[in-house]
Symmetry: C2
């Protein structure tokens, strides 16, 4: 299996480092528009070789990963998409999905398999210098299958990522964008707002104000130091979802303000206690341990089954550790196998799939 990585910064080079450890990967070729990044990626062993151009890198690749910034991914897809041979899997690593997946799909010939990707792993460092083969271990890796995603292609990509130690989670592209608006884009804009409010107050009222900034303020504003260009792009790409989440947030701030203003201590205590309990039980980046349970589902031969099954399991917050497909000898039907860690999560997945009419057989491994 031959992999091409376009964009060899932190994420691209980390994917190269970890993919090259797998037996099934014969070659990883890469390209970066910045020759320094490309040279560092080769030096660090993230690539077997650097290509002279993106077009040269993708030639003959079975898997093409666009690990470029969101601002250029659409153009990159438009340029490279037509060069890919049928059967190639094309994925990306950007943090918004609906428009990016649509652009990738529009750019490729029939038979090229587009599956959006978004690793929930990163670092405040950037560049191939800081790449690590361990970056994805235990991290949620979002995949966005759609109604016509090929099950075999999905299985190959899912399997590779799982063997890197990542925990794939399937989610619809539009749904993805609504979710990251909550967990990624809102925290950024809330931190920006808090930082600017404090700075303005310091300027207008009391220059000593920022001398009072202790740990809580520092934590709450840490991401405010992020790159403005990147965030302007992200906000443009995911505008509708972010605006909707900001409306929700603003309304909640207003409600809390009213609770305080009237001295409703019971409601205030409940808000604080709920948030504390949720924060304490926030799932971490960790490799799960527990019994591996396999669910077997006979699946009809109709489009969208793979996306429906995987995103249904994702929507109840359950990772699919591995995924396989057995085709019946007579064709037309097959069996999907999903490996899930833990009897409880597997039971919840089975219930959700049975509610959609699937027959599910559970088997512990």
């Amino acid at each position: 299996m031959r992999v091409a990585i376009i964009g060899t910064g932190l994420v691209g080079a980390s994917l190269g480092l970890s993919l090259r450890r797998l037996d099934e990967i014969d070659e990883v070729v890469g390209f970066d528009s910045d020759p320094v990044q490309l040279a560092v990626a080769v030096d660090r062993g993230a690539l077997d070789s650097g290509a002279g151009s993106a077009a040269a890198a993708v030639r003959g690749a079975d898997l093409v990963i666009l690990a470029v910034p969101v601002s250029v991914v659409v153009d990159t897809a438009a340029n490279l998409g037509p060069l890919l041979a049928p059967g190639t899997v094309l994925t990306d690593t950007t943090s918004v999905k609906a428009r990016v997946v649509a652009a990738m799909r529009a750019a490729v010939r029939p038979g090229v398999h587009v599956i959006g990707g978004h690793p929930m792993a990163g670092s405040h460092e950037t560049g191939a210098d800081h790449a690590s083969a361990e970056l994805f271990v235990g991290a949620t890796y979002l995949l966005t299958p759609t109604v016509d995603t090929d099950a075999g292609a999905y299985q190959r990509l899912h399997g590779l990522l799982a063997r890197l130690g990542a925990r794939p989670l399937a989610v619809d592209p539009a749904r993805h964008d609504a979710l990251v608006a909550v967990v990624s884009h809102l925290p950024q804009l809330a931190a920006t707002t808090l930082m600017n409010l404090a700075t303005d107050r310091a300027r207008e009222e009391h220059a000593g104000l920022l001398l009072l900034a202790a740990g809580g303020f520092r934590d709450a504003t840490r991401v405010a130091a992020s790159n403005p260009d990147l965030w302007v792009e992200i906000c443009a790409e995911n505008r509708d979802a972010i605006v909707a989440v900001l409306d929700d947030y603003r309304e909640r701030v207003g409600r809390l303000r009213s609770v305080l203003a009237v001295g409703d201590e019971a409601s205030l205590r409940r808000e604080l206690a709920d948030a504390r309990a949720s924060r304490r039980s926030l799932p971490g980046k960790e490799t799960m341990t527990g019994a591996l349970v396999e669910l077997h589902l006979p699946i009809p031969d109709r489009p969208g089954v793979l996306a429906e099954v995987t995103t249904t399991v994702g929507a109840i917050g359950v990772n699919i550790e591995d995924l396989g497909i057995d085709h019946a000898p007579e064709g037309g039907r097959g069996t999907l196998r999903l490996a899930i860690i833990g009897f409880k999560p597997a039971g919840r997945a089975r219930d959700a799939l049975e509610a959609l009419g699937y027959e599910v057989l559970e088997q512990s491994l």
Copy 2:
């Protein structure tokens, strides 16, 4: 000099550990309503001895520090205030000041010197177990002198704290509460709101949502795990200031929402860039280095001069590293000496004081 510390948790025991290192401190006695905390503080060397009661601890003390939670500080002051002899300095360590300082002043006899205190240092750990003599090194330590604060008493307390390595900053009690509403109380309530929004969305829409929580979300919600009881008390004590800041914050979130909704990228980029620049230049907890500059001010013998001078310097964000008073032999007037690190901050302090009509002489040490 004899010090009494009431409440020997993290802050009280840390004060004990560091004060006992100073030559001028003859004895540190403490009391805690929790006998385990008191025993740990004695074991750790934070106290010369534990007293059998708070009343016994404060007997004969020159400095009494109420290092108890905000929920009990008013009652503690009411109980102990009448026992203090004229000349005693009474301070506290709670995070709200206007009402607490008023309560301390109402509780004491004439001649007892009340100066509110609030060290901007802490830890997510609590209790005497985690006390450290280094807790205050480089940390801003707010003091709230008022119009009738005795200059000599202020000088003694300021000097002690400076010799612990803390950086005293003077601020009016009501102003203090407005400032901490911005840098401490708003970050807490914003984190609580963000955490609850994400949890509700996870419950209502997509149980996988919290699996997507990466570093930005974790940082932004870290303080949401704080103790609800403590925060209900703080919100009650500082209600008006917090409500006003929440109004400002909500309005800014709304404005940012509009900027996004209309696609005003220039304004969005400016907001992001301003916040980034401010966050990157946030002053840290650090011991400053630079030339020590002394400002000499002849001061008239009228009430409020000490508070006016120190809070004016605090309001432009300049720490007074040390402070002394020379009394003229003929009485009636004296000279206040302020030690400030750096020529620029000293120049700004001089300008601000001259604008109030003080004659200021600058001298580098």
